[in-house]
Symmetry: C2
DNA sequence: CTTCTTGCAAAGGATTTGCAGCGTC
DNA sequence: GACGCTGCAAATCCTTTGCAAGAAG
């Protein structure tokens, strides 16, 4: 875990046990999405004694340092994930809430063009696609057959 | 305002003064976006005595009836607007928060294709493009010149 | 008249903050 | 040793809800 320590220092964030634990969680699950509360419960359950308030403070610092990113998925659902440097979209299941990452750079030009058409200077885009995931489709079909 | 009355009845919503006032606000500003609080302040300031709780209840009913739509713009900013039947995206200024509607149906196919690639059944997509609006660009340039 | 709406005030969940004490540099 | 970090509890913000009184059909 020297890496995490160094990474935090490099980012100008004082390396503490709590911060290393949070960053480690993200590094151990590079493509997963966590809410603040999930992080809190997971770390306290595992080993790390830390408060929810600290989780929020730490997330805000990691965000500021660009080590993680966050996404609002509607319904006041905010999730954080490791910043792997590739912009992506989120595909969210309307039924179970599962979140998939979609890496697709082909549309970025479209967003910049949309911004340009309105004389905006493009900064970023947040894209969330909602639908029914394979598992929930299967479950629905099951129900339809039995019901 | 007979129209509003009829429209509510047709939607199965009992026509009350508060509900007509809220729907009228949307009809009078067909391309504007309002937060629940903005609606509340606007109507109470104007004439209509209604509570914030009622605004939320009314918005939820108009949403259910499909008369309006809502959008989450990140930062827990939720806005409502008249449902004009054309799906669109939002272009948001990072500095002043201004919201523009962008009508572009060319991307919908792309989102459906993205969903299909992950075996999802497409339902909807939420697209928010962030940037700097013309006014804020001008303001920044002003500052840069003078500062 | 019956049923649905409203206002109020209180509850709710998510996030933030002030402050005293402890860890990191 | 100074400064920044943490936990705790309280404060916020936005939204929802229970209940008694008031309007709509």
């Amino acid at each position: 875990m020297r890496t995490l320590y160094a990474e935090l220092s490099r980012a100008g964030i004082r390396a503490t046990a709590s911060r290393i634990a949070v960053l480690k969680l993200f590094r151990d699950h590079p493509v997963e999405h966590f809410s603040a509360d999930q992080i809190y419960r997971r770390l306290t359950h595992d080993e790390e004694p830390l408060s929810l308030a600290s989780v929020y403070r730490i997330l805000s610092q990691l965000l500021g340092a660009g080590l993680i990113t966050c996404a609002s998925l509607g319904d006041s659902r905010v999730v954080y994930e490791l910043n792997r440097g590739e912009p992506h979209y989120h595909l969210v299941c309307n039924h179970c809430g599962a979140i998939h990452n979609v890496t697709d750079t082909t549309l970025n030009l479209a967003y910049q063009s949309i911004a340009a058409q309105h004389q905006f200077v493009y900064a970023s885009a947040s894209v969330v696609v909602f639908g029914a995931c394979p598992d929930c489709q299967a479950a629905r079909n099951q129900k339809a057959r039995s019901g």
